[in-house]
Structures are given as structure tokens and as C-alpha cells.
Symmetry: C2
Subunit: 390 residues, 2 copies
């Protein structure tokens, strides 16, 4: 007799991206599929030194449980970052969590009832759909243009929604950033509603020119939940990020965090705080930004050369460009041909909550340097041309 599972799992599927990453893991495949930082930039030696110093001075304390809220100095760092960016928050509004991904679950636990409406960008981050999806909401996908979510499509659906999930800076998957005007339009619209804004911001420290844009939260502080992560600019494997929320939600978010895993990894919190406090951190960050800016330029130039039919976004930071192929081209067909030619990407349709985007694809530019990017995009161009021959 098989075990009866819960209804919320009926629609749940394995992450498409993760399955693709497995296909792309063969050593001969150039992968533009993942969303990983460059191995060359992960500060391995600095982590090794930090661990030595922390264990020498703190001893077993750094290997015991932490509080559910997280390492106080790290919460303070997050609050300080926001203050510098124009948003006044207290460290008490920050919880350290196991990657910003865990924030979706905490938000779902604290806010979502089955059937609640969530508005998402179309396309949007797949794993947010997956995580929110387990709370059985209805998903409303609102199209994007080059300045962010389309207001004409957002206005008719905003009332009655529970959450608006947005990634206003260097969005995953498109690389698009909201203009200042669009940010204001969205927060103005939300002000007259009860909708909670979820501002997911994994990439703003990966701004190519180092300029930071004030978070949308600064215009709607009482109703915005911010998510951030150390994965994209330091090391994903430490699995640490944060959630920053209005004070009235902190008690319940903390309870949900306690119930989920008691606390996040302790030693890693000490390590990250040490790296952030190092005098070398700002030059490290500049190197990361310059490297990714260079890679992005190389990728856009290579796309122009080898895939002249494709439209390519022009991100000012983050990890991805987004390609739109002619309407009759299937990115999924292209994917299969491309894998044979030794290059991988993520077909765009996976990022659309309610279908569409068959002729789109996401390319990551942080994992490979310019030469490999040139080689990989040349292979992609060859795959595209061979597809056109059928």
C-alpha cells in the first residue's frame, strides 16, 4: 500500500534548472546554465584563514548552536548596508537564514493561506515559484518590459493580492533592472492596498559600476520584506543569506525559523562576518564586479557575432543575459542541439509561471571567462544554424 502524500505536493516538480545542471555537468560541456559565482573568485584562501582564526579564538563556541536570529554582528552588517543605501532598519529586523531561498518558505509560512494570490514577474525566478507553490497560492504572472513590471498589467490585478514578488535589480532571469520611475510607480500603487512587497535582491552588490540603488523598501518600509544573500558575492556553499522585514512580522518569522531548523550554520556566519570586516573586502568586491562586467560585455559581443537573430538584454549587473529568438524558434529544441555541440543554457519557458517564452533563453556569464564565453557562444551559434536547417 503506497503512502498517501499531501495535496500541496501534487503539482510540485523537480527543479527544471537543477535537472538541466545535471545534463550540463559533463566536463566537455561549456555551461551557461547555472547561477553560480566564478570558482576563480570564491575567496578560498580567505575562508581557510578565517576558519583557522575563528576556531583558534572562539573554539567550540563557533561550532555550537547559534541563536535562531543569527550572529549579531552579521545582522548589524546587513542593517548597516541598508542604512548606507537609504533604508533605515534595525538589526532586530534582520534574521540570518540558510540562503535567501529559505526566505520564501518563511514568508509562505507566516503569510500565505491556500488560494492567496501572489503576483510574480513574468518571467521570474523559478525556485521562488517552486517554494511559494507549496503553500498552494494562485500565481498571477505580470509581464515585464525594459523598465520592470508593466504597470498597465499590474494595476487591474493588484487589489486582493496578498504578495507582489519582485526582483528589481538585475533580475533573474532577464538581467533587467527597474527604473527609478517604475520603482516609484509600483510602491505608490501598493501604498493604497494591503499587498506585501517581497523585494528579492540577491545581486545588487554585483552592480558593474558599484552604484547601489535604494531598495524599493525605502519607499514602502512598513510593507516590504527584503531578501538578500551572501551566496552570489562570497560563497554559495556556506548557505547563508538574510530576511529583513517590518518589525511586526519579526516575532512570527523567528518562530518559523526556529521550527524549521533551530538556527543557521554557526561557523559560516563567523567566517562571513570576518570576510566582510576585512580591509580587503572592498577591493575584492571591485574585482568581482569588474570581472563580471567584462564577462557580460564579452557575452553580448559574442551573441551579436554568432547569434545575430537574437535580441539580448543589456544588464548593468547580476549574473544573466536574456535572449529572445525569432518567434518560431524553440529554445528547448535549441537546448538539445546545443548540448550535442557542447554548450548548455536554460530554456526560458521554465521561468514563466503560466507558460510562454518558448523562444527565450537565459545565459549565465559569471561562471566562465571571456575565451570560454566566445567558444561557448560560437557553439551555440552553430547549434542555432543547424537547427534552422531542419
Amino acid at each position: 500500500m503506497s503512502i498517501q502524500t499531501a495535496r500541496r505536493m501534487n503539482q510540485a516538480r523537480r527543479s527544471f534548472v537543477r535537472e538541466i545542471l545535471k545534463a550540463a555537468a559533463k566536463s566537455e560541456v561549456i555551461s551557461f546554465a547555472g547561477g553560480l559565482p566564478s570558482n576563480d573568485l570564491i575567496p578560498v584562501a580567505q575562508v581557510a584563514n578565517a576558519v583557522q582564526e575563528i576556531l583558534a579564538t572562539e573554539g567550540a563556541k563557533a561550532l555550537q548552536y547559534c541563536t535562531a536570529e543569527g550572529h549579531p554582528a552579521l545582522r548589524q552588517w546587513v542593517a548597516d548596508q541598508y542604512r548606507a543605501a537609504g533604508l533605515s532598519v534595525s538589526p532586530d529586523q534582520v534574521l540570518i537564514i540558510s540562503g535567501s531561498q529559505q526566505g520564501f518558505d518563511l514568508i509562505g509560512k507566516v503569510l500565505l493561506e491556500p488560494g492567496d494570490a501572489i503576483i510574480v514577474e513574468d518571467p521570474t525566478y523559478i525556485a521562488a515559484l517552486q517554494s511559494f507553490g507549496l503553500f498552494e497560492p494562485s500565481m498571477l504572472a505580470v509581464p515585464m518590459d525594459q523598465e520592470g513590471i508593466q504597470m498597465d498589467s499590474l494595476r487591474p490585478v493588484i487589489h486582493g493580492a496578498k504578495l507582489l514578488y519582485t526582483m528589481p535589480s538585475f533580475q533573474n532571469p532577464t538581467g533587467i533592472s527597474y527604473s527609478a520611475a517604475r520603482r516609484a510607480e509600483v510602491t505608490n500603487l501598493l501604498r493604497d492596498t494591503s499587498v506585501v512587497l517581497v523585494e528579492d535582491d540577491p545581486y545588487s552588490l554585483l552592480s558593474f559600476d558599484g552604484r547601489t540603488i535604494p531598495p524599493m523598501a525605502s519607499q514602502l518600509p512598513d510593507r516590504t520584506i527584503l531578501l538578500g544573500t551572501f551566496s552570489k558575492f562570497l560563497a554559495p556553499g556556506l548557505r547563508l543569506g538574510w530576511i529583513c522585514a517590518p518589525m511586526e512580522l519579526m516575532e512570527k518569522l523567528t518562530i518559523a525559523k526556529q521550527a524549521l531548523d533551530l538556527c543557521s550554520e554557526n561557523l559560516g556566519q563567523w567566517v562571513i562576518h570576518r570576510l566582510l570586516s576585512s580591509p580587503d573586502f572592498s577591493s575584492y568586491l571591485q574585482t568581482v564586479r569588474a570581472t563580471y562586467a567584462r564577462n557580460c560585455r564579452a557575452m553580448r559581443a559574442a551573441v551579436k557575432r554568432h547569434l545575430p537573430d537574437a535580441q539580448c538584454t543589456d544588464p548593468a549587473g547580476g549574473m544573466f543575459v536574456w535572449l529572445t529568438l525569432p518567434p518560431d524558434v524553440s529554445a528547448l529544441d535549441l537546448f538539445h542541439t546545443a548540448i550535442e555541440k557542447g554548450v548548455a543554457f536554460v530554456p526560458g519557458q521554465a521561468f514563466f509561471a503560466n507558460g510562454g517564452g518558448e523562444n527565450t533563453l537565459r545565459l549565465n556569464f559569471t561562471r566562465c571567462g571571456p575565451e570560454t564565453i566566445e567558444d561557448g557562444i560560437a557553439r551555440l551559434g552553430a547549434a542555432y544554424r543547424s537547427l534552422a536547417c531542419y
Copy 2:
């Protein structure tokens, strides 16, 4: 306007134990309250060395994302442990998770609908109640005796229940272990039902005499979910444990894990595997067992001397003894007096799902050595006597 939160959070409270741990954190207080391993036993130098060696050989790879399923060698180690204990499982049935606590959430996601009945031991592990509670089940608490859950109370409620949550070895909070006969009675009873057995086993490696008891899962392999952890015998701050389930549940458990946090901490998985593979591991584990056995003896002897009115359990492993005071004594009153005298414990009533246990308390014996135990229990005895004077 305040933000409307979800119904599941209405009953959720901050962990009582965690609040008590804060009260007990003052340096002058001897704390028997937590469930932490001894600082002196956490293998700090070995962790430091392991990190150096792993980062020197694996480099950035150990700081990138891991698969959702976890480090293959660690999954293999878990499967090998079970095989040695008499349960044949494949590494494919093991997921590495962020402490066994996270397993409650994954089980809840995959199996529980609101209103489903969960049977728990009375008393039981508080944080399991907290985590399962967010899935809005009905909790049925079945009393314990010295051999485990009471069959006469279990039989009338077993049909129609969704889960039986049990900790058959060195239970938290009582230290009681199920007898072999009781294990068989429980699994025989469950065999004719559709109830899923959740066998939570954080402590079996902390058996004082090193003997391992075959998991109950070996008698009901198709319907048992096992939870285990590296927190209690290595280092809690690495936040790593595992869930081992029937093959038919693995796909959905993996999806739920992906949605929750993508994967568990990567570097820590490499570290733990290295510690487990070290030729010193078995002598390390023997030292841990001998130390805790000695502490437990010291605590029971001190209780006999300083609190002759109390009944004390006689655990063969784990981290806790359980005291039952005369029926008219309030352990909560004792707690407040004891804190003034400089000693902390957890009043037992927190461990009862539906109330009761006002005259019981839990004492941890892993955190302090025999001299501190003697001092702390003497203080507790003084607190008890001063309470009796009112």
C-alpha cells in the same frame, strides 16, 4: 494597517526552551537546560585541520552549491551505518539536511494536511511539536512508561492517525529507551494500519556501552522515516543531519528540500565526512560515550543525595535525565527559585503536548563535568528545600 498573517501561525509560540536558555545564559548560572554537546568534546582542532585539507584539495568546489540530495559519500556513510545496525537501505534513500530538525518540516510538507492526526509520546521533543504544529495537525499525546509508549493507550487511537512520532532510543526529554519487546509491539500494531512511523534517533551513537539497537525501521521498512543528526556527537553549529525514507517518498522529499533551501551547507558536509573517515573517529566516539556515561552517573548520584524526594530515570545513553517531584511541587516555581540560586533546567510541562507534567523536569548532563554537576544539583537541592519552606 497591520499585515494579516496566516492561520497556521496563530498557535505558534517561541520555543520555551530557547527562552529558558536565554535566562540560563548568564555566566554565573550552571545550566542543565540545553541539549548541547560538551564544548570540551567538540573536535575543534580536527575541524580546523579538515577545513584546511579540504580547501587545499577541493578548492572552490567545496564552497559552491551542493546537490539537493547532499554529498554522496556522506549519504553512503549513513546507509552503511544503518546496514551495520540491521537495516538495509540504499544511499538513494538518504537526504542530507540542515539538522534533523529540518526533517520535521520536510515530513510535514510531503505528508500532512491540516487536521491530520499525529500521535506523539507524552512527554516528547518540544521542537517537533513546534515544527509539525505549523501544518495544523491534531496532536494525540500517548503516555510513556519505562519501556516506551504505552500500548493500551496507543491501540485505541492508532487507526486513522497519519503519523506516529517516536524517539525510541534515549528519548528527549526522559532518557527512556524502548525495550525490544515494546519496539516489536509498536511495529506489529502499525503493520495493519496506514500509519507512517517517524523514528527520530539523534542519540543512538551516544549509547553509553556502545551497543546499538536495530532501528524500529528494520521491522517496518516500507513505512518508517528515520531522522538522524551529526549535531549530538560532532558539532551542532555545522547544522547537518539526515532523513532516510522509503524509496517511494524520496522524489517528493527531494523536491521539498530543493524548494526549502536548494541544498545544505557544502563545506560542512565535506568536513563531517572527513571526521567520520578518520582512523581516530571510533576512539573519539568512545571518549564521548565514556564522558557522558560518567556525567550521567554523577548526576544521578547527586540527585539522590540532594533531591531525595525526586524520582530520576536511568538512561543508558543520550543527554538527559528526567525527574519527577512529589505531585504537589511545581517545577516552574522551582525553576524561578533555582535561577536565583544559580542553576537552570527545563520545567517538564513544556514537553507535554496537551498539558500536565507540572511536577517534572529535564536535566542535561552533557554540558558540565562531574564537579559542576555536583555543585549545580546541590544548588537545585537548596532551591527545592527553600521552596518547601513557603
